[in-house]
Subunit: 394 residues, 2 copies
């Protein structure tokens, strides 16, 4: 009979970002390619202390099998923070713990997508969401975006003319890759369309707390009267990613299914890690910790944007992101970002992610994503200068 | 349009075991239902120490994003232990880290199964493997088993007459649920058939190290000349399950695909947990730690089996398991194990898992699985006596 893989494997290919990241492990390279937080801000000492406490107080429980739903005290803390920051009114019963928000994306694909079903998303959208969904073989329909978020006239047209739309996937705050944030009006319009069509909306919000200026806008989840918004978030960007702790906040009709999926997928998320974070939130000030991250990233964003303004040719447009980890540049159309990257790696020791792979159906070749959270300010200045030289040379 | 789930969700139902486990959280109940290790043996103090060291030595790396493939030093340690215990000849390049062996089962389904493909498995087989595979909608063909493992005449017949067999899933050592171990002859015959048909074999081996007496038999992986055995194991039973660390050992043509799947599913497994276990293996004696677990479980197995011999009616047959966590009883056919359980919970405060759900195609109603690892000896005696009364009463 021989070895035969499932058909879905034909659609799962190695991620360009990951291959690039392998090259950029070379410390000589100034890399704006990853989406990594600044490790110098990680609470290493505090993690030592909370681990000690968790193991002293509940060592056996922290190392034993645990529930699929997640650690109740952590779920309570998450609900409390969401209500305070995202204007929701959830309780721990509306929260389930997952192994990083990536797992929430994979489970969402598993929950909703049969082959040929339609997923609506922003154009561009998060690369790893595309990979997660693609395993279930949907058709992606990209909805155009502008500086205020998804263009509602386009979404309306697509919804009116498309069958088998299973959900709308969006990142309204400091979007990956574009760095843009949806306006309040767009949020309201999306909720109206969601209600009209009764289509689930996946609100992916890993960066929302990292706002550098201006007021936090209400989450889609907080505007949802019909229980159609499935909210996914993570501690990766506001605490540290190595522990792989994320969560889903949603209506129980969805949560019950996510729990079934998680039982088959990995039983439960590390209970030691869940208790470590819960203990940290209990005895330290997570808000103050996040405030410090914000201060550092704000300066890095400033430095990156200022250097881009000074050094890039006027034909390059880029996002002035109000938070999060990324800015996004649109080059003149004749410049191929992939070629630019190869030149940058060869001659300038600088890396970024060509925007091509953030468009699930391809066809856009002149964009690039730049990460500013993971490089010190002087390297940002130097790296952007080199990148500007490479663009000018092109 | 409305909310519509993927078709696969019709086949994913709440696990009977999990619902039972919820009842048995009542501490009055003597539970043989779970598959939990003995928490009093967990290395709580040692975990405190290794966490301290990991965070002191490599705090930032231990909390940052990490590679999908897994932590290289841990992969080296796993390879070394496998070669020593399972007679394999693998290197760290043949090992990938996963979030518990359950994740390996889910990924295996994702890698191989299209709707309608055939999965061959032992009858009975591990409940949570059935759940993991079922999400991808295969047809299960159960291969009969006896005290020596899978019956090869039956497997041969099925292979000769069945199309679209994607893999053969087996647990050759101290099988869950039956507690039985395959003979050397059966292992060899399986490898012959595997080679003849070039069918991948999934060797699930979470319990193999927990042998109470007799000699360890060579793993299927060690007999594999063609790179067709995909070996899955875990630290859950030889260390502790709360951290969710398992591994896959296989040929690179499979591992490359597993890594792609893992990238989309959860990016990587907690790097802090991987480093904690690696540090434990580095500075403590994991073999001595496992030897202690074996001593405790052997006594519990003895006590359970002796009490069953003394108290159960002669019409009940059960496995004298040489290792692992479970024994398995076959009742007279007229006794329905589910009814027996309800009576046991109502009148005797004792719990077990009816065997029904270990048969993917159903139809067997007079078996039960008993776990001895999670109860102290005196409770095992008392619980088995109560169970015997309930059987006699039936």
């Amino acid at each position: 009979m021989g070895v035969a893989f499932a058909k879905r494997m034909e659609f799962m290919k190695a991620s360009e970002i990951r291959e690039i990241l392998k090259i950029t492990e070379n410390p000589e390279i100034i890399s704006f390619a990853g989406g990594l937080p600044a490790p110098e801000l990680f609470p290493v000492k505090e993690m030592k202390h909370v681990t000690e406490l968790v193991l002293e107080e509940n060592g056996r429980q922290a190392l034993q099998y645990s529930t699929t739903e997640g650690f109740v005290p952590l779920r309570r803390q998450i609900a409390e923070r969401m209500n305070r920051k995202n204007e929701t009114s959830v309780t721990y019963e509306d929260i389930r713990i997952i192994s990083g928000s990536q797992q929430g994306l994979d489970f969402t694909g598993k929950l909703f997508i049969d082959e040929g079903d339609v997923v609506l998303c922003e154009s561009p959208t998060y690369l790893a969401a595309i990979s997660a969904f693609r395993a279930y073989r949907p058709v992606f329909k990209e909805v155009p975006t502008d500086d205020d978020g998804m263009v509602m006239a386009d979404l309306k047209k697509i919804l009116a003319t498309t069958n088998r739309v299973k959900f709308i996937y969006v990142i309204p705050d400091f979007q990956n890759p574009s760095g843009r944030t949806w306006s309040l009006a767009r949020r309201r319009q999306l909720i109206e369309l969601m209600n009209e069509y009764e289509i689930p909306v996946i609100e992916d919000n890993p960066y929302g707390e990292l706002r550098f200026e201006g007021e936090m806008l209400p989450s889609l989840k907080s505007m949802d009267q019909k229980g159609l918004v499935i909210y996914i978030s993570t501690f990766s960007k506001i605490f540290c990613p190595g522990l792989r702790i994320g969560w889903i906040a949603a209506d129980s009709r969805f949560l019950d299914k996510y729990v079934l999926i998680k039982q088959g997928a990995d039983l439960h998320t590390s209970i030691l890690s869940q208790r470590q974070i819960a203990k940290f939130i209990e005895i330290y000030d997570l808000d103050a910790f996040v405030a410090n991250i914000i201060n550092v990233y704000r300066r890095r964003r400033d430095v990156m944007v200022e250097t881009m303004q000074a050094e890039f040719p006027g034909t390059v447009k880029f996002t002035y992101s109000q938070g999060g980890l990324f800015t996004w540049a649109v080059l003149p159309e004749r410049i191929k970002a992939v070629e630019l990257l190869l030149n940058c790696l060869r001659n300038y020791n600088v890396a970024f992610v060509p925007g091509d792979s953030f468009f699930p159906n391809g066809g856009v070749t002149n964009t690039l994503r730049l990460n500013y959270s993971n490089m010190p300010e002087e390297k940002i200045v130097e790296g952007i200068k080199r990148l500007a030289r490479a663009i000018n040379e092109y």
